[in-house]
Structures are given as structure tokens and as C-alpha cells.
């Protein structure tokens, strides 16, 4: 995976005493640092650039987060939701996938930020988890950033794992396309941390997942995490349909199951490429030659474009069959799909999001 070298580190006053700041200075000693009272105006300088979103990834901001860290995952209208909560410790991502929804979601707030007040994050999580002891929380950290891509520089996740490892009603999911796991391998996750890789065959990575780790490197990192006691998950999301996709995805699955002990997998998810028409226009501007633009996608009732239903159901059913051949009882769920599609793929649809969330709870 490419090393991250921001052009500048911009630190808001009040963050320089944080552990994250110390880590950044230690790991990025050659990067110039600027201190500002308020990152507000500085964080908009990328707008002048021809590719503002791409430019926003080149500077790193360190600031305190002033809102609530802990949120319910918004899901998508009318789709079966997996009862997921999110904690955002950073915003935007140093990698640059053509289909990344952050291009649209963070359009007006695209600067790459890391939040320094990790103690506040833990305090807030603790209040919520203590208050709802009877509720099982599946918490993700990769909704508006990649959970591990900045870890070699910030050490953020290393700060979080010891706390979450002690909580009985939690699974903390770290979702990534990186291979940045070195700094967490010596920690004991106590079965409470899932490191989950978003996986695609190498031809998809080469064309549309710029700056991410290769398939082989992700798989090696996953194996190392499994050996270190972490639970694993894989998200085959977004699945891309192209001539020859079947052979590539089958080979990918074979390699994964030859490397990983599937009995210790927490879950697998499937989801096809999806984007709003607005995101598609942005993709067209930033990546005009991407083959993702020319798939047979139609507008769905939730406002997102997906491969037309018979095509994507066929894709899901094939993936499920290939997975089941190697791992007959592994938990598989669909990400952001309607009950109709669940029904066509699995022959059932979860009655409610809580049911799906509970299915994801650890059994031991």
C-alpha cells in the first residue's frame, strides 16, 4: 500500500497536547506543521483546485470533534438495515476509490481530518454502553473514513481497542482496504474486535481502488489479525459486474478460504455497486474512463442506482453458492438491499433490523 505523506499537517490549537498529535509528529517528522486557531477557513482551500475532492486528501487536519461521536448508521430508505452504530474518529480517507460515496457525502466538508479528543470519544461510548447494558451494539468506525489507513500515523485505533475489548455488549468493527495492522497485533481484543476487509479481485483494485492495499496484502494482513486473536469479517462490497467477473470473484473466494479459518469469521456481507445519480456525475468528472460508469444500473426507490434486479440477484446468488461451498455455515448478509432482494437471494428476509443485528452478535 502506498505510504501516506500529507503535504502539510494543520493543527487546531487545543489539539497539540493530545496523544494523536504526538504520534503524528513522531511518524511524520518531515511533514510541515501549521497551527491555527480554527481550521474552518483553512479547510476550504481545496475548493480552488481543479479536483477539489482529490486535493482535500493531500493535507491532514487535526482538530477536536465537537459533536456526538456515537451515531446510528443511517442505512438507506426502504432497505433492510443491519442495526449498526458508527463512531467517527476521522473524516475522509487518504485512498481514492472511484465509487467512494464520500465524494458526494463530504462534498462541502471534504478536508481530511482526524479528531484529537479520543478521551471524549471513549467517555461518550462508555455512557451509552453502560446505560443500555441489555442492548448489543455492533459499532463501526469506517463510515466516513477507512478505519486503519491512517493508523500507522495516528495510533487512534490502538487507543480505542483496550477500552472496547472490555465491553461485553459490543463488537467493534474496523473496516479497511489497507494492510495497516502492525500496530494492533500485540493487543488483546478479547473477542470484541472484528477487523473487516472490503475485498475485490485485483483487476477491480487496479482500476478503481487507487492507493489501497493489493488483494494479496489485504489477505496477508487478515491472516495476521486472525492469528493475533481478532475476529474477521469480509465485505464483498461493492461487487462489480464486468466480463469475466465470475472467474475473478471465484478465484478471490478460493484464495480467501484457503488462507483464513472460516469458522472464526464473524460475517460476510455482499453489496453491489451503488451510487446516487449525483455521485455518478461526480465519478464521471473525476474518473471519466472508469468502467463502473457503464454497468447496467437503474434507479432504485431509495434514490440509488444499482445493477437491474435480476442481474444483481443472479450475482448475489452465485456469490452465496461459491461461499457456501467453502464455508457452509458462515453468516452472510446483504448490505442496503430491499426485502424483495433478500427473499430472492436467500428465500427469506429478516423481519426487522434488530433481528439482523442480533444474528451478528457473537455466539460464544
Amino acid at each position: 500500500m502506498e505510504n501516506f505523506r500529507p503535504e502539510e499537517l494543520i493543527v487546531e490549537h487545543g489539539s497539540e497536547s493530545s496523544r494523536i498529535y504526538a504520534n503524528l509528529r513522531r511518524t511524520l517528522p518531515q511533514v510541515p506543521v501549521k497551527f491555527v486557531d480554527d481550521i474552518g477557513s483553512d479547510a476550504n482551500t481545496h475548493f480552488a483546485h481543479r479536483d477539489p475532492f482529490g486535493a482535500a486528501k493531500k493535507k491532514l487536519y487535526l482538530t477536536r470533534y465537537k459533536g456526538d461521536f456515537f451515531k446510528k448508521c443511517p442505512g438507506s430508505d426502504g432497505q433492510v438495515c443491519c442495526n449498526y452504530f458508527v463512531i467517527n474518529f476521522a473524516s475522509n480517507c487518504p485512498m481514492d476509490c472511484s465509487y467512494c460515496y464520500l465524494q458526494e457525502y463530504l462534498l462541502d466538508n471534504a478536508s481530511l481530518k482526524v479528531f484529537s479528543n479520543v478521551d471524549d470519544l471513549i467517555d461518550e461510548a462508555d455512557r451509552t454502553l453502560q446505560k443500555h447494558r441489555g442492548v448489543f451494539f455492533r459499532i463501526g468506525t469506517g463510515e466516513i473514513t477507512d478505519s486503519l489507513a491512517l493508523e500507522p500515523y495516528t495510533g487512534m485505533v490502538r487507543e480505542l481497542i483496550p477500552y472496547f475489548a472490555e465491553q461485553l455488549n459490543v463488537l467493534l468493527e474496523l473496516k479497511t482496504k489497507s494492510d495497516c495492522v502492525d500496530s494492533i497485533l500485540d493487543l488483546d481484543p478479547k473477542g470484541r474486535v472484528v477487523v473487516a476487509w472490503s475485498m475485490n479481485p485485483q483487476p477491480v483494485i487496479d482500476l478503481d481502488e487507487r492507493g489501497t492495499a493489493s488483494f494479496d496484502d489485504r489477505l496477508v494482513a487478515a491472516r495476521r489479525c486472525q492469528d493475533a486473536g481478532y475476529r474477521l469479517g469480509f465485505h464483498f462490497d461493492p461487487m462489480i459486474e464486468y466480463r469475466g467477473w465470475e472467474a475473478d470473484y471465484q478465484t478471490m473466494l478460493e484464495q480467501i478460504f484457503a488462507t483464513i479459518d472460516w469458522h472464526r469469521l464473524s460475517w460476510l456481507s455482499l453489496g453491489v455497486l451503488r451510487e446516487t445519480p449525483r455521485l455518478k456525475r461526480m465519478m464521471r468528472e473525476r474518473f471519466p474512463h472508469s468502467r463502473l460508469l457503464t454497468g447496467e444500473q437503474v434507479l432504485c426507490p431509495d434514490g440509488k442506482m444499482r445493477y437491474f434486479q435480476p442481474l444483481r440477484v443472479e450475482m448475489y446468488r452465485k456469490m452465496v453458492a461459491w461461499i457456501r461451498r467453502a464455508a457452509p455455515t458462515v453468516k452472510i448478509y446483504l448490505c442496503m438491499e430491499s426485502r424483495d432482494v433478500w427473499q430472492q437471494v436467500f428465500g427469506f428476509a429478516p423481519a426487522c433490523e434488530k433481528e439482523l443485528g442480533n444474528q451478528m452478535a457473537p455466539v460464544d
Binding site: V298, F308, L311
Partner: protein, 183 residues
Amino acid sequence: MSESEIRAYAQGRGFHDQTLTRWLGWERTDRDALGELASGLKIGENHLRDMMDWLEDTASRDHAKISQILATKAISDLSTDPRLGRADKVKRIKEHLRRLRFPRLAQTEDEIRTRIQSLKLHPEIRVSVPPGLEGGRLHVEFTATSATELLTIAGKLRAAAETSLAPEIFELLAGTHREKERE
């Protein structure tokens, strides 16, 4: 069609700036080819935007030029067919471009349509599928003016549902028909 003519055409029909900018951003031959078609058929913005989406994607996928797509015999036949009125020409050209852009979706829709027709249902029973086949459901619509008529229609529907065509339609909607073919 020159740039100023395209501007005048777009302004005359109240196009959004975004649409005009996008159109003018095309290569000259592509821009002009669409201009000829649009002005000849007085195509409005919504139709034109759909056509632009499909043309851009098809050209990119097939490594072709938009002007080449617009110069094909199918398009020229449709745009000059004396039996068709202006609105029908636009409709048929759009459908042609949509089929080029979504060949497998169009093929699946055709296969479903053929089977629905083969069910030979009474004209008062209307069977349709959702746009883009999203939702995977067959819509069946009918009206009755008496219990007897309702029973007759229900009987015809039942007979249709018991043919081999009905499961085939649902297999096509669910994307499972090819699994059967492979068995």
C-alpha cells in the same frame, strides 16, 4: 450545427445551464450530431438529458464516438420514417438508445413481454412489470362489474398461472432463469 446555434436552441427551449455546458463540452462532431437530431425533432431537455447519459455511457463502453452511434442506420431510419410523427420518432429513438445502453435489461424485458403475450390473457387483465424490473414483482390489474365477471377473470388468471410460462416470468424477474438453463 454551430456552437451559437446550439446555444440558441438551448436558450429557446429553456435548458438549464448545466445541460448546455455538458453538451458544449462534447467533441465538436459529437456535439453537432446531437444538435442536428435535437433541432430536427425539437427534442426537449428531459429527453435530451436521458439521451446524453445513454450516449456518453454507450460510447465509453464500446470505445465508439457519439457521432458514430448517431450516424447508424437505425437512428437515421427512425428519424426520417414518414409514418411516424415527431413525438413517436423521439420515443422510438430514445428506446433504441436505451436498448443500446442496457442490452441485457432490454433482453430480459423482451423475454418477459413475450411470455406475458403468450399467456393470451383477456384484454381486461393487464399484466406489467415495474420500470427497470426493480422490485421483482408482476403487476396484475383488472376490473370487474359483477361477481360473475370477477369469477371468470379469476379463472382465466388461475389458468394462466398454471402454465409453464408463469414460473418462467418469475424466474426472469428473479434472475434465476439462467440457473435452470445451466442445470
